[in-house]
């Protein structure tokens, strides 16, 4: 039973307010290794704010994020990533002027050991590390089906592949939990299907936990093991897909009373 294991990501009473507005309050979630959890809610419910809190983009005004039992209070975004949280963005944020493979390599930066001296004087250590990182990046691109376009500028990819590249880039950070912010937004059914396959492969190969924000209900209901629903910054329901589908508060929130 997963409940006995230690959660990979846990939040306690997490909240943030902008000025007087409480965007998120008393947000509690536990995600266990290997789980795929969905976070849903109507527009403006605070889903992306939760992601920003979970990745340190916004410092929380209350509560804590705990990763593998270690609180991450006061840490910066890159330290969240070092600890093992990676994410994608709702509005794709790629390094547009860089090539596809460079996008992935850039995300490997924190794991590359060589220093300034080795880099400027091209010591054997440098070559070794660069070779390793190129191999790793190519492997990730293959998983996401982008190996054929590795040298093209990121901005030149079609929309669906840009989404995949964002996932590949997130994978490159060797995270424990992956946060996907509306990965299927704006995709046609074929692209969505490909994406689903890709997510499945990732779960199989890496065994990581995934937290997913999604609007596409069928997608969420299909693949998520658990779903948490928020509205006006507060959790209104949480449970298995079938439980959520039957929850009156959720239906009310989505359809309006």
């Amino acid at each position: 039973m997963p409940e006995q294991k230690m959660p990979v990501l846990e939040t306690r009473k997490l909240g943030i307010s902008f000025g007087g507005l409480k965007a998120v309050s008393d947000f509690n979630i536990k995600i266990f290794p290997g789980e795929l959890v969905g976070l849903i809610g109507p527009n403006g419910a605070g889903k992306t704010s939760v992601f920003n809190l979970l990745t340190g983009v916004y410092p929380p005004t209350e509560g804590t994020v705990i990763l593998d039992g270690k609180p991450l209070n006061g840490k910066k975004t890159y330290q969240f990533v070092e600890a093992g949280v990676a994410r994608t963005f709702q509005n794709i944020r790629l390094f547009k002027q860089m090539s596809v493979i460079e996008n992935v390599k850039a995300a490997c930066t924190k794991d590359i050991e060589y220093g300034l001296f080795a880099a400027t004087f091209r010591t054997p250590k440098f070559w070794k590390a660069e070779k390793a990182v190129t191999e790793k990046a190519m492997r990730l691109l293959e998983i996401c089906g982008l190996a054929d376009v590795s040298e093209l500028p990121a901005a030149s990819l079609p929309y669906g592949r840009q989404r995949k590249l964002e996932i590949a880039r997130a994978l490159a950070t060797d995270m424990k939990i992956l946060l996907l912010d509306e990965p299927a937004a704006g995709m046609n059914p074929t692209e969505t299907a490909e994406l689903l396959a890709c997510i499945q492969t990732i779960r199989e190969q890496f065994g990581i936990a995934i937290l997913l924000i999604e609007h596409d209900m069928s997608l969420v209901m299909n693949i998520c093991e658990r779903i948490q629903v928020i509205d006006y910054g507060q959790t209104i329901a949480s449970g298995t897909p079938s439980e959520i589908a039957a929850n009156k508060r959720v239906i009310a929130a989505y359809l309006g009373e």
């Binding site: 992306t48 920003n52 983009v57 916004y58 963005f89």
Partner: protein, 298 residues
């Protein structure tokens, strides 16, 4: 004690000028998020316009300051011309960085164009007296009327601009444009003409600043805008860029810092202290004294 008051008055004198110039900077920055490096040079344009117009105005029997009307028109035209010719095309296809570099280029262009115009040339010019000398005596020190007028004008301009941007339709349009250009377009606001208007007002203000500058420091030369503009921009940043009362506050703070450093610390290190203050404030409060820290939307 007299020294203190004297220093205070010098500080206010410098500060009131910085404040007036800073208002123009903040106005433009507030709307299009561009450091208009050429703003200092608009002051130079205003200055030279008045140099040439003041004799005409005096011959007509009008007071010398009436020349500012001509300067306002010329500056507004130059400002709007700059926007049309350089800033707008770059804004359309470039990044923030290219826009900023264009602003630097415009500044260099105006300075050197002025030098190439035979009637202006490399020699500085000195203006006639604009306001009658005299002032309020406090002990042995004198607070000149010109300083008081400058402070009053800064305050009036500040209040008018503030009310304009907050209360009028056009002002609200400007604020919309500054928040989100695309959304403003959707709301039926003509973004381009709003920005053009902003440049017109901001550059017109430069002419007023030029008048008050010349009333106290009557020398006009082609690079006069460089350092003046820089210090005024520092003032605007210090007060919180884009915030109209902040520009006035920042200007006066910078003027006082400069004056007190000259009098009490080291007369040749004043610039160093001005920038040190800026760096310290920005570290403690990155958005400036009156600014609010707004994070980037993710």
């Amino acid at each position: 004690m007299n020294t203190f008051f004297q220093t205070l008055i010098v500080g206010l004198r410098l500060g009131s000028i910085y404040a007036l110039v800073a208002l123009g900077y903040t106005m433009v920055y507030g709307i299009i998020r561009l450091i208009n490096f050429a703003h200092g040079d608009f002051i130079m344009v205003g200055g030279y316009t008045m140099i040439f117009v003041i004799p005409v105005v005096l011959r007509l029997g009008l007071p010398a300051w009436a020349a500012v009307l001509a300067a306002i028109v010329v500056c507004a035209l130059v400002g709007m011309g700059t926007e049309l010719v350089a800033y707008r095309p770059v804004r359309k296809k470039g990044t923030n960085m290219t826009a900023l570099i264009t602003a630097i280029a415009m500044s260099l262009f105006l300075e050197n164009l002025a030098q190439a115009i035979p009637a202006i040339g490399p020699n500085p010019k000195v203006a006639s007296q604009i306001f009658k000398a005299g002032g309020i005596h406090i002990g042995t020190v004198t607070m000149e009327y010109t300083t008081i007028i400058t402070l009053v004008i800064s305050a009036v301009v500040m209040i008018v601009l503030f009310t304009f941007t907050q209360k009028t339709r056009l002002g609200r349009a400007m604020r919309c444009v500054s928040e989100d250009k695309a959304a403003a377009t959707l709301m039926g606001i003509n973004v381009n003409s709003t920005i053009l208007l902003t440049f017109g007002i901001g550059s017109g203000l430069a002419a007023v600043a030029a008048l008050m500058y010349m009333a106290q420091y009557p020398k006009v030369y082609t690079t006069m805008g460089a350092l003046l503009g820089l210090k005024a921009f520092v003032s605007a940043v210090l007060g919180g860029i884009g915030i109209i009362p902040g520009a006035v506050l920042g200007g006066i703070v910078i003027g006082l810092v400069e004056s007190f450093t000259t009098a009490y610390i080291s007369s040749s290190m004043a610039d160093t202290f001005v920038f040190l203050i800026l760096i310290i404030v920005l570290i403690l409060k990155p958005a400036g004294i009156m600014g609010k820290n707004i994070g980037e939307k993710v």
